[in-house]
């Protein structure tokens, strides 16, 4: 083993974790107490100032210097993660005085070179590739104090390098904010790149896209279960829109509800054992719950109007849904126990797509002046807050599992793609590629 790595190993081994196919070692070689408990970023502040972080290219520490492409690819993944988190401003490499990245450890770094260009944080990294394996070490420094905040070494397969980098991004976000990042979460969406609408899944940053349907029909409205192990979706492959359940690990698909008419807009109950959806087999689109065998448990909403888009509250006691009972689509909240219904939205003539976050905010899409935009409102009511404006249509909001971010579809760049933003509307970024259109995001935990 190379001298540099060996010298770090001495500083302490704290923690091993085993992930799926490959093993990941996270070796804590932190100076004890280096960043003890200090929270650099208050994520609950209404507006979050961004930290300038400099991330020079990672150093190839391997003897044979194989895989030189990783010196930019790996910091690229982390840089993008930190940018999407909304807490950081990854700095342009052009501005770096010490462009070679110099030393990896505090002793060798001239912190003045970094503070003078405005960097508040510095992330250095080195890696070695041996066969199909990759060993990476990163260090995060507070430039002002010239001290190390975090040190991690990670080991994994070269092919899974993005996943490895996402883990390190999460470590960085955790130590600076005190809460877990979203770097390892997953996205499902509808894409039409093949000419037909199919369901796809990918990493939350839009990479590693793979289809999970090949129906060559119309597949829409994917919804992850809360544990991320299953997806329900609608397909026209056997006639009208029927509801299917796909097990991600096994790949098995089964029909959950093929009743005549609609079987659409499913939403998982927090217990993972019930699904609320709109069915019209009794002649009118109403909201029911079914179990995972497709059996009807309860008719939740029965009304002559259109009732669609159920969204469970985090405790599972209530649902938000859309009804046109007032003459135009508006969002209502129903107490499942006592069946009491209250209207939530009063502003605007067209409010749809409620999504209920784990932090009890409801996001929805509202049409004003011919365009859709995304709003949030407290689940208990109150004033709504507009998050998108003057950028095409913005629809189908869906919360991150931690309720701090949203994905949504927007045609601000011409065609519909999926975008991410903070819960307060800051830091809007495109996630999916420009090939075809992507809509109907659904977000799953790691």
């Amino acid at each position: 083993m190379n001298m540099n790595l060996a010298s770090f190993s001495k500083k302490g081994i704290a923690h091993f974790s085993f992930i799926r196919m490959w093993v990941l070692f996270l070796i804590f070689f932190l100076f004890p107490g280096a960043a003890s408990g200090r929270i650099y970023i208050d994520v609950n502040a209404p507006s979050i100032p961004k930290f300038n972080i400099a991330i020079p290219d990672f150093k190839n520490l391997g003897v044979d210097k194989k895989h030189s492409e990783f010196s930019t690819k790996m910091p690229g993944v982390i840089s993008n993660d930190l940018d999407l988190s909304g807490y950081f401003n990854p700095m342009d490499k052009e501005a770096f005085l010490d462009e070679k990245g110099g030393a990896l450890t505090a002793e060798g770094i001239n912190f003045k070179d970094w503070s003078v260009i405005g960097a508040e944080l510095l992330l250095t990294g080195g890696y070695t590739c041996i066969g199909s394996r990759l060993e990476v070490e990163i260090r995060l420094f507070d430039v002002f104090w010239g001290r190390q905040i975090l040190g991690r070494r990670a080991l994994g397969d070269i092919s899974g390098y993005r996943h490895l980098m996402h883990r390190l991004s999460n470590e960085i976000i955790l130590i600076l904010t005190g809460h877990n990042g979203i770097s390892l979460t997953k996205l499902a969406f509808v894409g039409n790149a093949t000419g037909k609408r199919e369901i796809y899944v990918c990493d939350y940053d839009g990479y590693n896209v793979r289809p999970i349907t090949r129906d060559k029909s119309i597949a829409i409205l994917p919804r992850w279960s809360l544990d991320g192990k299953k997806i329900v979706y609608n397909s026209y492959k056997h006639g009208g829109p029927m509801l299917y359940l796909k097990n991600i690990a096994s790949g098995n698909v089964r029909l959950l509800s093929g009743r005549s008419g609609l079987n659409i807009g499913a939403c998982w109950a927090p217990n993972g054992k019930e699904i609320a959806l709109t069915m019209s087999h009794r002649g009118n689109p109403d909201i029911f719950t079914i179990d995972l065998k497709g059996k009807i448990l309860k008719q939740l909403v029965k009304h002559w109007g259109i009732d669609v888009s159920p969204a469970f509250s985090p405790d599972g006691d209530k649902i938000a849904f859309v009804s046109n009972r007032s003459g135009s689509p508006q969002i209502y909240i129903m107490d499942i126990e006592n069946e009491g219904v209250e209207r939530l939205t009063y502003e605007g003539r067209y409010n749809t797509s409620p999504s209920w976050s784990s932090r009890n905010q409801i996001a929805f899409a509202s049409m004003k002046g011919g365009h859709f935009d995304i709003y949030t409102i407290d689940a208990v009511g109150g004033r709504s807050r507009r998050l998108t404006e003057n950028m095409g249509n913005n629809e189908a909001p869906c919360w991150s599992p931690d309720g701090r971010y949203m994905m949504f579809s927007s045609n601000r760049e011409g065609r519909y793609h999926i975008y991410i933003m903070n819960a307060n509307g800051q830091n809007q970024r495109r996630i999916t590629s420009k090939k075809g259109e992507q809509t109907a995001p659904s977000w799953a935990p790691e």
């Binding site: 006639g239 005549s260 609609l262």
Partner: protein, 183 residues
């Protein structure tokens, strides 16, 4: 010759109506399946819906040109709706009266009505609205004496726009019911 064609026609109509009866019964039974493969009966339903066989039959038995023209006219004439509405305007009612008269005079045909919306709004809401639109036409035809057993509906919501553009003209064109005759 003419007699042969007539006999063929009658026989075909009979076979088709039995086929349709069997499949529509079958569809009612199909609800939930535990397997990846759909039940066999469902595959048959698909055949009836898209009706490739029936279309072939129509050509083979040389439908009189007048009837072909009527069928084309029937299927090419959509009815249109206002934004977020599923009620039938006077023009739509006139069109449906003509369709009802054709269906009363040609009892071997059944009908599939497709309900569609413009792309504004959520897919779920538009699927429900599309179903309402298809159902409005169905109920009107029933009121005009066409048996409800002969009419099926399917909602495509905003999934099958006639014009994919994003403007008032395209939207108005997309808020429609389509009509497909099945024999």
């Amino acid at each position: 010759m003419g007699k042969k064609v007539m006999t063929g026609l009658v026989a075909m109509a009979f076979v088709c109506s039995i086929l349709f009866f069997v499949t529509s019964c079958a569809k009612k039974q199909v609800n939930i399946s535990e397997t990846v493969q759909p039940p066999v009966e469902e595959e048959v339903v698909v055949v009836v819906k898209e009706a490739p066989k029936e279309e072939t039959v129509v050509e083979v038995i040389e439908v009189p040109p007048e009837l072909v023209r009527q069928i084309e006219n029937f299927e090419d004439t959509n009815i249109y709706f206002d934004f977020d509405r599923s009620n039938l305007g006077p023009e739509a009612q006139e069109i449906l009266k003509k369709k009802a008269s054709f269906l009363r005079n040609n009892r071997s045909f059944s009908l599939l009505i497709g309900g569609n919306c413009d792309n504004r709004g959520t897919e779920e809401y538009n699927l429900a609205l599309g179903e309402r639109r298809a159902d409005s036409a169905k109920q009107y035809l029933i009121a005009l004496g066409v048996s409800g057993d002969r009419i099926k509906t399917i909602s495509y919501g905003e999934l099958k726009p006639a014009d994919p553009a994003n403007n008032e003209v395209a939207w108005a064109f997309n808020r429609r019911d389509t009509f497909k005759l099945l024999q």
